[in-house]
Amino acid sequence: MSADDTGDPLIAVRDLDVAFGDLEAVSGVDVTLESGSFVGLVGPNGAGKTTVLRAIKGTVDPDGGTVRLDGDPIDGLSAREVGRRVASVPQDTGLAFDFRVRHVVEMGRTPHLGRFDGHGPEDVAAVDEAMAAAGVERFADRSIAEVSGGERQRVLLARALAQGTPALVLDEPTASLDVNHAVTTMDLVRDLVDDGRAAIAAIHDLDMAARYCDRVVVLAHGGVHADGPPAEVLDAGAVRGAFDAEPFVGRNPATGTPAVTAFPRSDADLRRLHVVGTGPDAARVVARLAAAGHEVSLGVVPEGDAAAVAATDADAPVVTVPPFAGVDAASRAAARELAAEADVALVVDGRDDDRDRDGGDHDETGRDSHGSGSHGLDSHGPEHDVSGVASAAERVVEVPADVDEDDLLEAVADASTNPIEAEPTGSTEPT
């Protein structure tokens, strides 16, 4: 591939500005795609992902900056030349007339054919190969109007493969696909990249981007917010700033890649909080509070406890003891010190301590009281502070194991009157 010969990246977008009328879609965007790599463009709706991809395809004229393919400025290339270097899989596909599937894939050969050429043996081979790779041979003779949305997406992927380009551009390739087809599609793209092609894709699903991409470019408000390997880029700060949401970035236990869970913005006054409790319930409390931006600490918990994992993912201080070791004096002292720094200590009512309560039937306890207007939290009886850590804090709030997310945030807001100085979140408000 020529990129290897010249050292130029397959796709190099530099300082890209695109405006539609008075509306600036993207400004100052840099994106690079090297051969053998899979770059994910992530970002909220309207961040400019599609605009960047259109600039790479040459279907939008930049107001500033350059787009180079293999080092050649795209505005000096004919549509044919662009079509031999970059193949695209579109986001939305309304096909007007009902071409057969095979015919649609054959259209991928257009940039390789002269005006009077028919399809030669190598074109037929490329089409067959592309259809096999995308798994669409089964319905080759069906009408494109008759196949399902997921199948149609794969037909368009096959068409892009038939184009035989070193680079693929995909706009939300999994947007209309079910989980199975989504991962199959992403796996296929990943395999193609591992075989030497390169791909750049706009991806909504952050976990999917983290799982399949070598690099992630976070676009927000028309500019590049972060750019790098997913594990480095997809942290809470970047997601909070880009998406204007409250994210908790954990780790997907099945893939080991970052898993982003976003909560709606609560705009709470930020506080210093200490959580006492173990297990998934305490983990949930830690995650939600950390996502909201509170400074959270945790302890004492056994090493490897779900709450400890959540606290570590959230970069929260945590006091741990070895499993089954019991709480020693030093750990208790350390935890009490963290609690003492906090405005409020939250004691999560672990289900282990309360087995007689219906085995955790959520609807009967927490949710009922939610409807009546009271958040149903007891701020006077810390009877579950078994280790005596919470009492070091100024205020103690008891939180039921199945506490509702909104009740939790409300309880924190009610319990304390000293908000801490808000952390700079890096969020740029849309104007």
Partner: protein
Amino acid sequence: MRVRRRAATWSAVLAAALAVVVVVSAGIGPVRIPPAEVLKVVLNAAVIPAGVELGTRGAGPLALPGIDLAYRSPFAFSVDDVHRRIVLLVRLPRILLAALVGFSLAAAGTVMQGFFRNPMADPSIIGVSSGAAVGAVAFIVFPTALSATLTLPLVGAVDLGLSYGAGVSLFAFVGALVAAFGVYAIATRHGRTPVATLLLAGVAVQTFLGAVISYLQLQAGESLRRIVAWLMGHLSGASWNEVAATALVVPPLFAVLLVYSRDLNVLLLGEEEAHGLGIEVERTKRVLLAASALITAAGVAFAGVIGFVGLIVPHMLRLLVGPDHRVLLPTAALAGGTFLVAADTAARSGAAELPVGVVTAAVGAPFFVYLLMSREVNEL
């Protein structure tokens, strides 16, 4: 390859159908002539180059030796001379003009439906028919002002030597092209012509030209009858001159459309996709628009506004051969010719001759309603 064979097979079938309809139609009329007799007349009229012969060209002192092609009629069936005259001088020009007009309207309609990705598109959508109508009607209303002489500075009066019929056709042709170019110019900004804007510009221009036509009709006085006849579409009084003029213009334009039929397929995926697949979208659109406008103008210049051929025939053929323009375009064009010959035969074989546009609309509209209620159009 498979596609080319399919296109060739279908085209052969439809060309044969056209030939049959032409022969049968030539036998129908006040004097009925059996198809076999028609065939003999046509074959007798056929000439083939049979060799060269030396001769002289020019006359008097400028006579030069030259080489002429010698033609020979390979057939000499005995036919009734009256039948021969009816077929060759009366019916065949009209039938062949109908075939050519139907051919060009259906070809342009097919291209426009693909171009606009809109099943309602037909050749008139970019204002061609309205422009032709304004040109023709203007000439019919003001024949003396617009024909005969043109006074140019320096040169003085130039006699354009336009006969009435040629004047109407020329003005219709020019009007069609001016209207199409106007629509294109209105819809084009910074070198791009969005299809949706083109569609709306076409509607606006057609509406405006409709007003002009109505006004001219009010001013028409005695010529109103001729205007109405022209506007309804007619093929009566066709001569070999008109056939020859149309036959010179239509095939090269059709060849251009045919060459671009693969690009038209790709354009159906959407313009951005087409660009991604290596189509120079704006240039291709310009070529398709220009060729369609010209071929339609050639069709309507002599025959007037004949509706529905360009709308219905492409739909019928799409049901039959599928949406691939490499097959659809030639077959729809041939079917358009066949359809118009048949419609015109029906128009002239009744007790009183009807304008052919009335027949095509009367047949075409119910068929279009059927299409609307069936799957074909609903899913587009």
